[in-house]
Amino acid sequence: MKKVSFLMVMVMALVAVSFGAVSAQDDGSVLTAIQERGVLNCGVSGGLPGFSNINPDTGLMEGLDADYCRALAVAIFGGPFSEEMVNFVPLTSDVRFTALQAGEVDVLHRNTTWTLTRDITLGSDFGPTTFYDGQGLLVRIADGMTTLADMEGASFCSTSGTTTEKNLTDAYRALFGSDPILVLAAGPSENLADFEAGSCDVLTSDKSQLAGLRSVASDPSALEVLGDTLSKEPLGPMYLEDDSAFADIVDWSVYATFQAEEYGITSENIGDFMSSEDVNIQRFLGMSEDGYGDALGISNSFAADIIMAVGNYAEIYDRNVTPIGVSRAGSLNDLWTRGGLLYSPAWR
């Protein structure tokens, strides 16, 4: 009898534990949770030059994605910005969605491609695209391969858990009717190590990433990013579904950087615009009574706080992406007024 009752206790404990877990997630918005916590948990890649990479000199997370994390944090908590507002959570491609679903991070600014399948199946939504990318191919110039059609039988290095291995498989099958040889590693730096050791002939990833990896390779002049673009890779923020209050803030914190560039407001000249006569700029910067922050449930001056913290889109881009060798002029990442795709909805 003693044995049986012990087992019963264990069963009861199991039941109790599983019931206890029901309150895992509050029914409120993620926004409330962030405000109570006092810090934004922002999922980033953490090892990708130009997007999110730790600067060895300062110890700070740097990059386009990292700056959008800062912009969101300062929008939620109000200015001036301090590094304590953001907790950068480095995530590998494999675990990022699970981390978001489980609430480990509030938002992903982690060069994540916006795809229909992800939008539908992951229980999450995408914000405005912050970087328009395309999948490219990095090769050794000496190998003499100039396009994917030259690459029959080649081995391809790619990061596991991304859209790239799938795109490449599709493109390769369409061209040659057989399966490519994939060498999958956990992250971009492992890819580069495999590529440089000769484990593969081609490194395939988003072009911005390839440019960043080429810049840190041992001999960049021997490598070349080919002109082929295998796919569209619009990268942007990602957050949980059915949470408009938070989603709106993420979206408009991104749009604020686009709009600031359109107005010509930078982190340096924002002081001049504070006293602007233009009523639209006054509303944008939160200088008038009818600002936009109230409607979003945050400070009226959130756009001004963002610009003072990280600058407008051009500043963010020039600081982070230009150094890795991806030029902006004439690309999709230019402002719509110059033929690009960056376009903010109306601030009214």
Binding site: T98, M151, S160, K166, C200
Partner: protein, 493 residues
Amino acid sequence: MAVAEDMGGSRPPPKQRRRIQLTTPGIPWYRDILVIRILMQVAFVILFVGGLGIAFLSLAGNLQESNLSLDFNIYRAPFTVAISEGPSVTNNWIWLNGDYDTAIQIVYTGIIVAILGWVGYSSYQQNKRDELPITPVLIGLLTIIFVFIAPPNEVPQILRDHFFGGSMLRAFFTGIANTIKVVVTSLIACTILGILVGIGLLSGNFLVRGVSKVFVEIFRNTPLLIQLLFIYRTMTVLLPFPRQSICQTDGCTGNNLIAMNARGLWIVNPQSTDTTVIFFVAIVIAIAVAWFVRRSRFKLQEETGTPPKIVRYTLPVLIIIPLIGWIIASVLNGGSVFINDYPILPESGPNIVGGYQITTAFFALFVGLTLYTAAFIAEIVRAGIQAVPTGQIEAARSQGLNGSQVLNLVVLPQALRLIIPPLGNQYVNLGKNSSLAIAVTYFDTYRIAQLANNESGQAVPFFVGLMAIYLVLSVTLSYLTNIVNSATKVKTR
């Protein structure tokens, strides 16, 4: 017998209880120990199953709330990433094309009948021993429920729905095949290496002992993940690019028996011809004849005490008969028994073509798992040998046996009984450690689960499946060890 009687002494005599008589005369039923036992068993099963059910439902609810799906139908979704190692994911399995439906139904029905037959037999046996046949009855009930879910006439279609070329399930099977490939090869290699090093640890030769000791301490005391990364990175960095492959012909453009570069090792791959079967039959005959020779030599030893000298008598048999088979086969086929598929580096092209490729990823994982597990096995072997009483060795020596005879005839047979149970633990560890393949770009089960997770975004069903797969692998390994263990243990009655 005396012990068994003592244990049964507190219970009523078996003969009386086997009648279908639930109560003992003179005692009210609610105080009858047998009735209480059955009621408690039933109550416990209900509580346990109910508890598990509630726990599962509540867990599912929690997962749903966190946007994590528990829908196992995701295994039927297409899997679209190329897997360049192991059996093909995309080709349809030939036995799923409809021609084999009847055969599948017959095999399936046969398995079900066999299970139900086993259930009936062991229920009868247990009932004869006065035990309640709870496990067999439960298995029988589950089987019957399973048959209702998947009746024999629908099984071929169910298999087709799940195992079509390019499905997630097929990808998992490729992953499982790759995992089994690396586990089985490492298991054999680490056992041989471990025993050699273990004996080396006790060697009288200072150098052998020292080298064994250093080997064990290095590989036992560093993390396997770091060893794997070290081996993999070292191999890929040291080995040349494919265009500069190492092989025996000039520039690798001729017929190589072996070729090597950063992407792997290629060996010549013999393809069978029409007469190859003669050669294989000769090998089988040779093994059979050698076995008979061995048996008759042992018989002779039992009768007269002559040393069996197995190797001296069986080795010629094992060489001569296959040689005759080879000659016959090659004469019939005009010169060659096999057509060799040589690894060749083409004039232009990224890599070696032809031959059988052992990828660097597989090789690194194989070497890493083998060295790591062998270090532990060596310690187990050493401990097992040292546990054999010195008196045994001294006695063997005083009988005039030489060093290897003492080891083979006296020490190892006794040490084996102490070695095998902890050895089983190491095998299970080896199976589980194979999931570290993720560090060396090998396509094992864990990697496939991650790719599938990335493609569908549904982590939970795949990780549940992953746990089930490793559970089955580990249980199978320990079951096999248990069989070996009971075969070698001292027979007692």
